[in-house]
């Protein structure tokens, strides 16, 4: 009975702090009467092994009289070092016993961690275990390799080959790796603390470090279909709750994304799950299942202006020339980027609910009429006029049947105006642009007169650089100090 004994630290604390006042409360808190009596009987025979005090389980070693005093001093120093409250000195030498099994190796890691980190349901309701003080279970396997442990041994078949050359490798004990402990502790110290995410600016969405606007990659491949060229972007990420009978408040993530291959194929989907990774996976795969093909004009914009609505959200979409860009709500901008539309103007009227915007926009896109369809509808040529091509009449589509109506065959009340036909008779209200309030003031006229002097200076200076090569006037040759960038110091330097 002279082996070492491993006890939980709180037991050891009891043994250690044998203050009359403290005893009662400690006793009540941690131990029942049986264990107290047991510990008391052992207390005379054991001391704590100095290095183990900070662990959850303290190793008690058999104490000898001379060791006791040293041990007590060492203990005290160590405990002071770790800021523990020392109520009084322990009475005498300590216990002498050891168990080979305990709850420690009967429970799973998850259960052990739960015991240490969990908060009761009542506590959870009061908001405990949510904020900064939340304890996080650490994965103690990190930094460790199977086969390598405290005892540095060569196990053939496990961490060494069975046969090396022509010889069988033998089990061998190597000298202890001093730094292994330190390394593991270092790894474990870095775990568990919550640090704010640092995102590359290019990866950011429209919402700071948060998910909306960010890419979550292409949908997962299904057999042959690899979803090449697809990118999914999060439009909305919400935490939604509902009350359940069993758990109380049930918290889930709701994610709304749009996916597209930049070439007219795209789709959107909504999914809910309890963790971010689950919901991400679910939603992008769902979006990949609900793809639509939308027609584009010259692969950069919509076919024509249109008006759509979903719910109370109304969108006026205008076709724009190359280089205009995506002048629209950020949600529409994200959708256009995934679909491959590069130039558009969209004005939203009414609520800007992201899901409704998306649905309205997609509705409008799939309801677009191709040029050929329009020509067939009207039985007339569809002709394009571009200002940059001097309004040359370019026939974009002719009726497939080949029959084009004549002027007499067209009824009087038929809508021939292209924009009106497309918008189904609706006209967008264009508000009159009023002059700025300062333009009526007399001071504005004074400003204009003053500005007129220097209005053309930039062009004149540019021309001067082209023709003369420098900014010069008729003074420049006579007076060198007229030149820009001249300083008297440089003249002196030249003189030297």
């Amino acid at each position: 009975m002279m082996a070492s004994l491993v006890v939980p630290r709180r037991w050891y604390r009891y043994l250690d702090t044998l203050n009359a006042r403290y005893l009662g409360s400690l006793r009540a808190k941690y131990l029942n009467s049986v264990s107290i009596r047991y510990l008391d009987t052992l207390s005379s025979r054991y001391t704590a092994s100095p290095g183990t005090l900070q662990r959850h389980f303290v190793t008690l070693v058999p104490s000898t009289s001379h060791m006791v005093a040293d041990a007590h001093i060492k203990l005290r120093q160590q405990q002071e070092a770790v800021n523990q409250v020392m109520c009084c000195t322990p009475s005498g030498p300590l216990i002498y016993s050891r168990r080979t099994t305990s709850f420690f190796n009967k429970l799973t890691a998850e259960q052990l961690w739960k015991g240490v980190t969990s908060v009761s349901n009542a506590g959870r309701k009061q908001g405990r275990g949510k904020g900064v003080g939340k304890k996080i279970a650490k994965d103690l396997n990190r930094g460790q390799i199977i086969g390598v442990g405290q005892e540095n041994m060569v196990w053939p078949g496990l961490n060494a080959p069975v046969i090396r050359g022509r010889e069988l490798v033998q089990q061998k004990k190597l000298p202890k790796d001093e730094e292994r402990e330190a390394r593991l502790i270092k790894i474990r110290n870095t775990m568990g603390s919550f640090r704010a995410l640092r995102l590359d600016p290019l990866d950011r969405g429209w919402c700071g470090n948060k998910m909306p606007g960010r890419s979550i990659g292409p949908p997962n491949p299904i057999e042959d279909d690899k979803f090449e060229g697809f990118d999914t972007r999060v439009l909305e990420l919400k935490i939604v709750t509902c009350m359940t009978a069993v758990f109380g408040r049930k918290r889930r993530f709701s994610m709304f994304v749009v996916t597209g291959n930049g070439n007219g194929l795209g789709g959107f989907a909504l999914a809910k799950a309890t963790t971010i990774s689950d919901v991400t996976r679910k939603v992008k795969n769902r979006a990949g299942q609900k793809l639509l093909y939308i027609e584009r004009y010259n692969e950069h914009t919509v076919l024509h202006d249109f008006f759509t609505y979903f719910g109370r959200t109304k969108i006026f979409v205008k076709k724009m020339p190359e280089g205009y860009g995506l002048v629209c709500h950020r949600a529409i901008r994200t959708i256009c980027q995934t679909l491959g539309i590069k130039d558009i103007h969209a004005k939203i009227e009414g609520p800007t609910n992201v899901q409704n915007i998306t649905k309205a926009f997609f509705l409008g896109l799939i309801r677009q009429k191709t040029h050929q369809k329009l020509a067939d509808e009207k039985q007339l040529h569809l002709v394009e006029f571009r200002k940059e091509n001097l309004n040359f009449p370019k026939v974009v589509a002719t009726p497939q049947s080949g029959k084009v109506r004549t002027q007499e065959e067209i009824p009087n009340n038929e809508e021939l105006d292209f924009t009106q036909h497309i918008m189904d008779g609706k006209v967008q209200l264009v508000k009159k642009k009023y002059p700025a309030p300062y333009e009526k003031l007399p001071s504005y006229e004074i400003y204009l007169k003053k500005y007129a002097r220097r209005r053309n200076h930039q062009k004149v200076m540019l021309n001067m650089l082209v023709e003369e090569g420098e900014y010069r006037s008729f003074y420049t040759d006579q007076y060198p100090e007229c030149r820009p960038g001249y300083s008297s110091k440089s003249e002196e330097a030249e003189a030297w």
Partner: protein, 321 residues
């Protein structure tokens, strides 16, 4: 017949190309060979203007025809050829001599008539020299004054450095013929010796590089062909047209040659105007200066035609037709 180093209409230096150029037959030929490729004539010019979205219209056949007619009228306006004129003579018109006021000032005085509505050429511009003579302004002085009082868009007071020798050759090496010719048209008058120098340099460069297609369907193609025909340098042009199998164009050029050089031998031969190849052969035999090359080209063309016919016939027989 000698050729001046700088080109120019130097075949017979005194001969004025203008009456020939403006004659009806020559004009019809030049317009025909210029061609009207609407894609090129109405192409987008990069002039830093903001783009606007295209407009669409539903049109009947008649409306479309009307619009096309308008487009053709506009294209003929765009393809209007810059005139080919003789080099202008220096003005030496002294209005009065007043040696009594010599040294009244150490600079010249320029008086410009800025009456509204006068065309630039009719505007009176006179100069009083320090030695007292009152004379009509020289061409350069008059142009400068006109540009100051009535500035034309695209024209600068001082001609751009583009037109200086080294820069010009640099730009032409890059193949920017149309750009140079357009700039020259904007900057100079058609009878300006500078304009004639620049255009002849450009035409020579085009001829050397055989890049006639770059100027096809532009307003400079006509003057280019006229220049080459005037200076009897149409061989390369004919060969390149043959290689593109444009026989009618070749025949047109030969006809142009006959109109310009009325004393040519091939004109005497009565050739059926519809037989383009025959006309070309007649030219090659009698008037050409590089007979072998042209004959080789004609032979090559005939070979190709023959081979193609053969191939078609083979295909037909293979299909059992």
């Amino acid at each position: 017949i000698t050729h001046n180093k700088d080109g120019g209409y130097c075949d017979t230096p005194d001969r004025d190309p203008a009456p020939v150029f403006f004659s009806e037959n020559v004009q019809t030929i030049l317009k025909k060979i210029t061609g009207t490729d609407f894609n090129k004539v109405f192409r987008q010019r990069f002039d830093e203007k903001k783009l606007s979205p295209p407009e669409y219209k539903f049109m009947t056949d008649e409306e479309l025809k009307q619009k096309m007619k308008n487009a053709e009228r506009l294209s003929s306006k765009i393809l209007q050829m810059p005139p080919v004129l003789k080099e202008r003579q220096a003005i030496s018109n002294i209005l009065s001599r007043d040696p009594a006021i010599t040294g009244f000032e150490n600079c010249k005085f320029v008086f410009t008539d800025i009456t509204y509505g006068l065309p630039d050429r009719k505007r009176l511009v006179v100069v009083r020299d320090p030695d007292g003579t009152l004379r009509q302004a020289s061409w350069e002085e008059a142009e400068r004054m006109n540009q100051i009082y009535n500035p034309r868009p695209g024209r600068k007071l001082k001609p751009p450095k583009l037109f200086q020798e080294e820069h010009l050759t640099n730009v032409l090496e890059r193949g920017e013929y149309e750009f140079v010719l357009d700039s020259a048209c904007a900057q100079f008058e058609p009878d300006d010796p500078e304009y004639l120098r620049i255009t002849s340099v450009v035409y020579e460069s085009v001829d050397k590089k055989r890049c006639y297609q770059l100027l096809h369907s532009t307003r400079h193609y006509g003057p280019l062909c006229f220049y080459l025909t005037w200076n009897k340098k149409i061989e390369n042009l004919l060969i390149s047209l043959l290689q593109q199998e444009k026989l009618e164009a070749c025949a047109d050029i030969v006809r142009l040659y006959q109109l310009i050089h009325t004393d040519c031998k091939s004109k005497m031969i009565n050739v059926d105007p519809n037989q383009h190849l025959e006309l070309l052969k007649a030219y090659v035999e009698h008037d050409s200066l590089q007979q072998q090359q042209l004959q080789l080209a004609i032979q090559a063309y005939q070979e190709i035609v023959r081979e193609r016919q053969q191939y078609n016939e083979n295909v037909k027989t293979a299909h059992g037709l």
